[in-house]
């Protein structure tokens, strides 16, 4: 029975073997995100302790120094804002971690490091590429040409904080089924799109508020993984962005 059992168990296991559902980069990115969350929690706990200590010491010192013209200075740890600044001065996650960003086209929200940034991303008729992407280029200013509804009318726009994305798996075996198609994340044109997230008006790039785009530009290195989740409505046409000369 032992040999027979071993044989049957091996057959069972071999029959149940399945390829990985996610690429290794996504697994590493998930580990990086988890470590980052753990460190953030530890940092916040330490920060709270330090803030408490600073408050006690400050009260003690100012209590002693009252009436002596002591200048009070706020401790950076004692007065953290409730959220992170939108300015491009973020703390970077550990160097070898692969940052992971999710773009939900249905909700028009980009999620990065716990922040949810409103976005605009094409129209239902002209959605941007979807699937697992990776950041392949960064340019603080870039001229993009954007084909609009009429194929012959091509208008070039100058965008800031441009992140160029390419499908993570060019073989098409990953969820990035739009093999070879690039996508872009960039700052909104402030005058044209003052409130990203309310509606989709950009044609072929994912636009964020300028401060959010600047923050993300600083935060995401090349190689970061961006998962673009397609909207639920069926799209009837797509437009591929091309780089203007």
């Amino acid at each position: 029975m032992s040999d027979e059992l071993t044989r049957r168990l091996r057959e069972l296991a071999e029959g149940a073997e399945a390829p990985p559902r996610l690429p290794g980069a996504v697994v590493r990115a998930a580990a990086g995100r988890r470590r980052h969350r753990r460190r953030t929690a530890a940092f916040l706990a330490g920060g709270c302790a330090a803030a408490t200590l600073a408050a006690v010491l400050t009260a003690h010192v100012t209590g002693e120094g009252a009436g002596h013209g002591t200048e009070q200075r706020s401790s950076p740890l004692a007065s953290p804002g409730p959220g992170r600044s939108a300015d491009p001065s973020p703390g970077r996650s550990p160097g070898r971690d692969v940052p992971y960003v999710t773009v939900d086209l249905s909700r028009r929200v980009l999620t990065a490091e716990g922040r949810e940034l409103p976005l605009s991303a094409g129209t239902t008729r002209l959605p941007p590429s979807a699937g697992l992407m990776t950041v392949t280029g960064k340019e603080s200013v870039r001229l993009l040409s954007s084909r609009t509804a009429a194929p012959e009318s091509v208008s070039a726009v100058r965008l800031r904080w441009v992140l160029e994305l390419a499908p993570l798996d060019r073989t098409g075996s990953s969820p990035g089924e739009e093999t070879g198609t690039r996508a872009y994340i960039a700052s909104a044109l402030t005058d044209e799109e003052p409130t990203p997230g309310d509606r989709g008006t950009t044609v072929d790039w994912i636009s964020l508020r300028p401060t959010d785009a600047a923050w993300l530009y600083q935060e995401l290195p090349e190689g970061a993984v961006v998962e673009i989740v397609a909207p639920t409505e069926p799209a009837t046409a797509r437009v591929t962005p091309t780089t203007a000369p």
């Binding site: 059992l5 168990l9 296991a13 149940a16 073997e17 399945a18 290794g24 697994v27």
Partner: protein, 167 residues
């Protein structure tokens, strides 16, 4: 271990480990979930993972513990699962395979783990004892009882012959 080495190891070991965990859990989705999670933990703790010297065994151990911990957290749900197992997605169950999966599901968790580690993963009784934290004698007893129970399920009449003997 570089990112490329990890990715290559992940791509090579994931299918094999999923098969082994399927034998332990009896559920494809569960097996894939716990193996996936074990790889995430492996990269997160790669120093510990590499120091172990047997990365695949490390992943398997973590995945099995994850599976056990999931069962314990959702015992009531598992009872329902046992009575009404979810439909298999792929590949289609053959009768012989379905009988074996069902027989494995009926084994107590400790016996199933011992049987899978010893008979499928080729661990010696001592290694199984080390991996499960149980004394060698306990592992032998679990193997013996597990084999006897499986023999009764798979080939009625052979259970008594095997009972008490450990390979």
């Amino acid at each position: 271990m570089t990112e490329e080495e990890f990715d290559a190891f992940y791509a090579a070991a994931f299918p094999r480990l999923t098969g082994q965990l399927f034998a332990f859990t009896g559920d494809h989705g569960e097996a894939q979930d716990v193996v996936q999670e074990a790889f995430v933990r492996a990269w997160d703790r790669r120093r510990e993972f590499l120091a172990d010297g047997a990365p695949e065994a490390w992943i398997r151990t973590v995945a099995m513990r994850l599976a056990v911990s999931r069962w314990r957290r959702a015992r009531r749900w598992l009872e329902l699962m046992r009575r009404d197992p979810p439909p298999e997605h792929a590949p289609g169950p053959e009768p012989e395979r379905a009988v074996l999966v069902d027989a494995l599901r009926r084994l107590p968790e400790a016996q199933r783990m011992a049987v899978v580690l010893h008979h499928l993963c080729d661990l010696s009784v001592e290694q199984v004892a080390s991996e499960t934290g149980a004394p060698v004698g306990t592992v032998k007893a679990r193997l013996s009882r597990g084999r006897a129970a499986l023999a009764r399920e798979l080939a009625p009449g052979e259970g008594e012959k095997e009972h008490g003997r450990v390979r």
